[in-house]
Symmetry: D2
Subunit: 438 residues, 4 copies
């Protein structure tokens, strides 16, 4: 039996003309090339997501599955799961990506009882461990799917029924065990059903407390089993809920600080969620970085004119440049990375489209990285910023910056110095200089 | 000289037909009527805002002023300011509202120096104090206008130039003195320019630190002068900035907790800002109430299909009902209130439109209050909620609620009890029951 | 064998308290009551939709099915289809609604060939005809599902492959035959995949022409078979497409007029689609009515803070009032009606929730109808409008209205009469008067 | 007296470092360079707008003016107007742009009567004619400001008072005379107040008819005076109105066709308006081009996360590339052009920022043009498209395309040929290939 599902990418004609002058290959990404002191691979830490790329069917709310995947054909659920895992590792290897991410229920089918589900997971992660060792591919993060099963329709840790919360707790316990077994570098919580559909039937105060207590139990168990990975919360404003408690980066930070959980968590930012919350693409990445909470990035994109999560592959060089500039400035994402939480369109039905999409997105980020390195190394934009804030380096400004002055002293300063001068913000100049690097 | 600008409202024909069967009057609001243990006046604590109703001109980004106001005609800036103040108190009194709110620069014109501005403010607040004593009308809150003057174009406490920050500090110092002098019950900070227009020219980390230090100075000065009022921050996501740091309730809560400021501040929620942040009308009111941070409400509305702050008078009974339900459930807004941060449309050019708009909005809130009282006193919705969360009152649910269990115990519970049963969320039933009270 | 799936609604306790003082029943809708010259039933022409209420599973993009429906259990696809149809007619009858709507593929399962699908449809519509005659329930409209099958993923009449377009044509031919057989009063086209996901791979000009030609063929066939029903196009801006050609009412009107199709079509307006297009709830209903193109209404609602189609049951009395006011003013919707293109939430898992949702929505529209009748019969709002536009009833205004003047004459009028006087738009007064009727 | 307001741009240091290695200059735009058969100047037809760049003050709804412009200081209104006009022509010339656009009221101050306003306009356009001849700069388009004066607060051609409509007519008559006098190549109608604030006080049917009759009078007068320019309508969905009748391209096309006006008008598309209507940046440009109605472009941009018109200078190369690809494909914009309806930020207070912004935007469009030419000349994307729609070139597809088939024939085709094959839409590949050209 062959486990070969994918062609050699260097044989896929990329340029559409008959006499193809080009085959599918990276045009910008060069894993081992050193930029600004690290290899590209090390800056970018790409990861393939299991659910979209290996479990996705192309179904949408208005349409049936469109994606034929040979690993999904025939056999029992567990046999299919194994074929899928082999296919995935073949893909990771041929693509040359060193990390993957998955939900517990992506990798192993849910059984009719918790015990059966756990048993399935044990068997599948045994195989995953073998494949990881064979290939050197590692787990960027694991997460538990606490949203797809009907039991979670009204929430997992925020469910009005404590029985459901208990189920979620049991599932997370196993998920943490799996994270340890597979050496996952991070563990993600995405609360897709932790919120409400209607304020009328919801006790928000109770639900928030339960969610906090749930996280505390996860922290306790993590410490008990000596699991070293970073906990991450992934904000999303809405969809499937009308309102999710983890609306955006600042909502999560506020929640974590209120419940004394901020030392135990960082954030996994997905820009498609950020834009759904009404922010610009880079907003939550910048804000979490400023608050020291940027842990990892789900590198995808939406369309600004659409109001739901489209999970498209990121292609905009301007966006990838800003993200990578932030990443470099905070010294990298380790132990996080850039996870492609993105799916090929349901109309992109060729198996090669999986390669095309990943390669195009990796190239887009490689271009972003190169641009960001040039911006940082040339120092023009940074110089403009430094000059702009110069007044906080001495005198009254320095006192403000260090928290050593008072309203009385500020008033006295104005009485001495009068009206400040008008200073142009030079926004168009900054935009133009930024454009120069794209 | 007469300071009478407004007609007696009981003589304004309200119904448009020639043989008017109706004059302008409250149809639902009845100040002294006791509901659920307090007078309507005490639950609602209405306040008229000075800027829109007495300083507004009707100008918009595409049009010149449309509103002719007799108190703005003729005389020096200070003479006009005094006429305006007399007009306002005449309006408060005829309308029967006991509170007003104002920015420092609404009440007294800005001078060419800080000293001159302060001098103007002293003179005007002397007069205000006289009028307050004569009428019994009080200050719900004062705020400093740190956004309209060109010096603040790049921010006040987050300005890249510390000279500007110093000016803002001097202005707030005076504002706090004024708050004390006039017995203001609250003091509001709205950071209309505290954010950014472009991420490219902004040092977010520095600006947030400066903003926090600025608030700390305000707290210190407040304590120094023995000012008793409640400090309030008013979130807004954007406009005039592309992004304001005080994006929404949770952003502000996260910021306050991060900088250790949460004991000193509550929030002033404006629903038109909440909807601009992508939330439902009541969202920030509910969330701040849950976090014990709801201080006051800027009772206005926008249109869900518009992306800017229209500051319309609130007219939707469903919205006013939910707001009042939340207010009653937290035991009232004291020392906050319901401030009409709302403006008549620029096309509503009749002086009587000011009365019509306020009376209609007060009636809308009076209907909301009556509905909310019925909802709470009949207890049907509350009963549905209690039943829904009943499982947290005993057994494993109670342990979760009290933070006394663990993932291991939850797993054990599931091994014993298996799959939870499916329970309908009954959303349509809740909506239908809610409709019953509207 | 019993085909009884639903309880008698008069035995379902509605009020949640133990000693229920109330059972499920209409509180406002009274089918035979005459208002403004017609029965409520005749003004409202309610219709139940087949897909959401009988085929819906509760699956969403993030979750598996939640809704257990006894008629979906056991048996072959055709056996299930028949049980479903019996259940539906039982529901229509117990609810007291006289119309239903369906897609071809809701009623009969798709076969492996067109012939087999058509055969299934013949068998199912034979049964439908029997049940229609037995119950008196009629078809408000039929539509063909040209979006769910994978073949339509890139469009039906706008597919880049003419083979797919041909398939859609064959399917519509059969759909029209079915419409005739069952006496459908209307036939709807909803182009869920008629648009694009990416402008980069789309030839918009070609696709629009093909769509127009497709409609022309449908008109020709309708005339050929003597089908009397009204053709309706249902606009939607996006979802599943990034952009649908039938974006909103005016887009469809522009398209129809450009291709000379406007005599053959009216519009079926769904307010949840209207708000997704950035309009207010009532916008497309008002605009189509003004252009003489309002044919029918999919009476549902979304949430203004959500960017996708939630298809909720309409509960807002303000909205139902405006819709019914427009409907009355144009003399009714005949042969259209109010079709509940709405689904119970996936968390509303009780079978009784189907009744609760429909009854609550029917009551919401009954209240809207009563309000609208009062508004129209009392004439206050209409009087305000008449007075506002009075200047077009004589003199220069009348000439403008009748198209009998010129810029030169207008200039001469201004030279004679100078500046117009300022007239308040009285928006708050109108809103307040409108509130009076809610 | 010197009329020199601006420095020589080649002396403005552009790169911020002290030892400037760079002065302000075009880096991509090269007016005379021939690409795809025309000069860049000829493809791009840049135009400077008068209102933002010469009349703008930097005031916004929350702030006072910030922009000090020397030509606005001192003197009477007419003296200032003349200084402004000299400044503008100095700027056009130094920038090297051959077109400008203006509103009647930008160029000459409104008088206290129509006659006085017209007299001011005569005097100012005499001067403009002299300066046009001296410099060779021409008028891309004129428009009448029918929105800023209070008389137009409730609309101009849709005002409920026919007296106001008459005023607007008189003003347009003069505007058309001015267009002829100055040789304007186009005349624009932007209906900023042609819509409604509230549906409650609006007779939509009457207003639409009056607007149509107004346009008919304008067409008649244009023909009478032998004015050769192209009439253009500029859509905008909202702001200042809650809803504008000219919502987007398709709304305008529907309106024009309904009233038989489509032969006399094309559209002036502003992408910032397009995105406010919920579309992607390029949508209305593509749609009008497909319908043969793309007349001119107001080349600006907004921010996708903001809900109002920010009129920023266009800087995104992806956007400029798509626009120019569409422009080239329709054979150019003549007699239209790319008008910079964009304003420097109110914080960009240096006079040089005007140059920086225009040069950066012109460079952005020059890059877009170069990219578009490469895309078109290399033909890869076009080849992919042609292949995708190939089936419409023969057989049943060709019959569909030519409107020569029927549903019966399509059904027969399917009976013969069965199920179509699945064909990937290759969206990611298209995006990737497009990225290759950026």
């Amino acid at each position: 039996m062959s486990t070969e599902y994918f062609r050699d990418i260097s044989k896929i004609p990329y340029w559409p003309s008959a006499g193809a002058k080009d085959v599918l290959c990276f045009k910008h990404y060069n894993a081992g090339e050193v930029l600004h002191g690290r290899t590209m691979e090390d800056w970018l830490r790409f990861s393939v997501c299991y659910w979209h790329s290996f479990c996705g069917t192309g179904a949408d709310p208005f349409g049936f599955p469109t994606l034929y995947r040979p690993w999904n054909e025939g056999g029992s659920a567990m046999e299919t799961a194994k074929k899928r895992l082999h296919a995935a590792f073949e893909f990771f290897t041929k693509l040359g990506v060193k990390y993957y991410t998955f939900h517990d229920r992506d990798m192993a089918p849910e059984g009719s009882t918790l015990e059966e589900s756990n048993c399935n997971l044990d068997e599948m992660t045994d195989l995953a461990l073998v494949l990881q060792k064979q290939t050197g591919v590692k787990v960027l993060w694991v997460t538990c799917n606490l949203f797809a099963h009907p039991r979670y329709m009204n929430g997992a840790s925020t469910n009005p029924d404590s029985h459901v919360l208990a189920y979620a707790g049991a599932q997370v316990k196993k998920g943490l065990d799996v994270a340890k077994k597979l050496g996952a570098e991070n563990f993600v919580f995405w609360g897709g059903r932790e919120g409400f559909l209607s304020i009328y039937n919801t006790d928000v105060a109770a639900e928030l407390k339960h969610m906090a207590n749930f996280f505390k139990m996860a922290v306790a168990y993590k410490e008990k089993i000596g699991l070293k990975c970073q906990f991450l919360i992934e904000p999303k404003p809405k969809e499937p809920c009308k309102h999710q408690y983890d609306y955006d980066a600042m909502s999560v930070i506020g929640f974590l600080k209120h419940y004394g959980l901020d030392q135990h968590f960082k954030l996994n930012i997905e820009p498609n969620h950020t834009t759904l919350a009404g922010h610009s693409y880079e907003h939550d990445i910048v804000m979490t970085s400023v608050f020291g909470m940027l842990g990892s990035v789900d590198s995808n994109t939406g369309s600004p004119d659409l109001g739901w999560d489209t999970d498209q592959f990121p292609m905009d060089i301007r966006n990838t440049t800003i993200v990578m500039k932030t990443v470099i400035e905070q010294g990298g994402l380790q132990p996080g990375g850039l996870n492609f939480d993105a799916k090929v369109r349901r109309e992109s039905t060729d198996l090669e489209d999986l390669f095309i999409a990943h390669i195009a997105a990796m190239d887009a980020f490689a271009r972003g990285l190169r641009n960001a390195v040039r911006i940082i190394e040339e120092g023009v934009i940074d110089g403009m910023l430094k000059e702009r804030y110069l007044s906080f380096k001495e005198g009254i400004g320095q006192k403000v910056d260090e928290g050593k002055t008072s309203l009385e002293e500020l008033e006295e300063f104005i009485k001495q110095n009068g009206e400040p001068k008008v200073t142009s913000g030079k926004q168009e100049k900054c935009e133009s200089v930024f454009n120069h690097y794209l």
